[in-house]
């Protein structure tokens, strides 16, 4: 199946281990990802500070219009923030003819037009609904053998529209973890916010949010945390030592992308495909029984 991959700004830098593992995993599963040509930033969750709502809508409408002009395939967004920005604008355009006309008047400045035909999908959605857990299972060469993983879903992955999973009790992340042999642990904070785009600037408040999530995951038996969003991954992994300093905790729990775990389970290369060397907290220790060193 063919999709436009809209990987977004983060996956080119802080989330490079996500993109590095998504491509080979997609390839193994027969997903054809084509880059959406000349895509622009979605505005993320912080643009409202400098821009009005219509400007942010136009940013996303431009990408949707590009997808229509380049062949009309579904757009797949691995980043939850990209995903929700685009889904939101898509909904609003599809539901409001007046808005659509206004946006198209603006898009004309760049010779573009959007009719509202594109479907925006999260990677989790494609993996669960298009590929399916049975097919994923059939690709597993090194099952994760009961490895206890907290499948952190976060916020914008499913909220607010819940297009492919429940907004309060999502199951897709855990189902895929189970398909690759891991044991997804139940932990109540799986949907609680990590601080998102304001973590860096509101660290004193957001560190507490992450501390609570990490504590909850560990208390419920998790040896590592799996994420499907570059912001969740960054906030949960990169600030652990700062949280330890602030709260006297001793967090040192690996945070990986679901696609990295899939690459490991599929028996792909641990560096080139799973990109395990790009994690700040080395996941190899926890994975040693699977990867054999």
């Amino acid at each position: 199946m063919k999709y436009f991959l809209y990987w977004g700004c983060s996956l080119e830098a802080s989330g490079s281990n996500y993109l590095a593992s998504l491509r080979p995993v997609g390839e193994a599963l027969g997903l054809e990802f084509e880059e959406l040509e000349d895509w622009n930033c979605c505005g993320a969750s912080i643009s409202y500070i400098g821009a009005n709502d219509l400007s942010i809508k136009v940013l996303n409408a431009r990408n949707l219009a590009l997808a229509e002009a380049q062949g009309g395939y579904d757009i797949v967004a691995p980043c939850s923030s990209c995903y929700i920005q685009m889904v939101k604008v898509n909904h609003e355009i599809q539901e409001d003819e007046g808005l659509k006309a206004k946006i198209n008047e603006i898009l004309r400045e760049g010779g573009l037009n959007y009719t509202g035909s594109i479907r925006v999908r999260h990677v989790l959605d494609v993996l669960y609904h298009d590929v399916g857990t049975e097919v994923i299972k059939s690709h597993v060469k090194k099952g994760l053998k009961g490895l206890k993983v907290a499948g952190y879903v976060g916020c914008q992955t499913v909220r607010p529209y819940g297009e492919y999973d429940s907004v309060e009790r999502p199951i897709t992340h855990d189902a895929i973890l189970a398909a690759i042999g891991a044991e997804p642990v139940k932990f109540p904070k799986k949907m609680r916010c990590c601080g998102s785009g304001i973590f860096l600037t509101e660290m004193e408040y957001c560190m507490k949010l992450v501390k609570d999530i990490l504590e909850d995951a560990i208390a419920h038996g998790a040896a590592m945390i799996s994420t499907v969003c570059p912001m969740c991954a960054m906030n949960l992994e990169a600030y652990q030592h700062r949280i330890n300093k602030a709260f006297g905790t001793e967090f040192d729990i690996p945070v990986v992308y679901l696609t990295q775990l899939m690459a490991v389970a599929f028996g792909l290369d641990l560096r080139a495909d799973a990109a395990l060397d790009r994690n700040y907290i080395p996941p190899e220790v926890v994975l040693k029984e699977v990867i054999g060193h």
Binding site: N17, C41, S47, I49, D53, E105, G110, M191, T201, R278
Partner: protein, 201 residues
């Protein structure tokens, strides 16, 4: 008469002028009319315990005409965009979008509810307008130095460890910032959008 009694009892009275201002100038501002003060947004918000006023209170204060308090409250800029409130609001108010709209309006009116987040957000948007994308290496640098050289150096030093770790783990882009091909057209679109929307830039 009723109003006098209310005031004497220390209760807030309705004062519609600020509410009207919000309905007209704030993106999604009109949605506040639907609020029935149930407080589900406040109970769902991950940061409401550190806000000066919960989202529910903010909506009430808008109706009560508390312009100064609302536009200078840190609450309107502490939204993490988690969408818990928007999902759960029984009156289908897009609380997240209203909070964002209020923050944008407050800043345009010269208020600075949270300075660091505001500076970061402004640099973020400037970079989108300039390049069409975010360069995660240049954005923090521009944000660090947005208040001048000395505060910039201080902030950069505080977070230097993160930069080094990112670099060592190949999670930093080394290429210089580069704009998208359609950057000029995008800028034209954004100029038009900022002139047309209720928010404006």
């Amino acid at each position: 008469m009723a109003e006098k009694k209310q005031k004497a009892a220390g209760l807030a009275t309705y004062e519609p002028s600020f509410a009207k201002e919000v309905f007209q100038n704030v993106d999604y501002g009109e949605k506040i009319k639907m609020c029935m003060q149930c407080g589900v947004c406040a109970a769902s918000c991950p940061l409401s315990m550190v806000m000066d006023y919960s989202p529910r209170k903010i909506f009430y204060m808008i109706r009560a005409g508390k312009r100064e308090e609302v536009l200078s409250s840190k609450a309107i800029m502490l939204c993490t965009s988690c969408y818990s409130c928007k999902v759960r609001c029984p009156r289908k108010i897009p609380v997240v979008d209203v909070m964002h709209g209020l923050a944008n309006y407050a800043i345009r009116q010269g208020y600075v509810p949270r300075e660091e987040t505001m500076l970061f957000g402004k640099e973020f948007w400037k970079q989108i307008v300039r390049l069409g994308r975010i360069d995660e290496k240049d954005l923090p640098r521009r944000y660090f130095f947005s208040k001048g050289l000395i505060p910039g150096v201080k902030k950069a030093m505080e977070l230097a460890d993160m930069g080094i770790v990112m670099l060592l783990h190949k999670r930093m882009k080394l290429l210089p910032e580069r704009s998208i091909k359609g950057a000029k057209e995008l800028r034209r679109m954004l100029d038009k959008a900022s002139a047309m929307g209720p928010g404006g830039r």
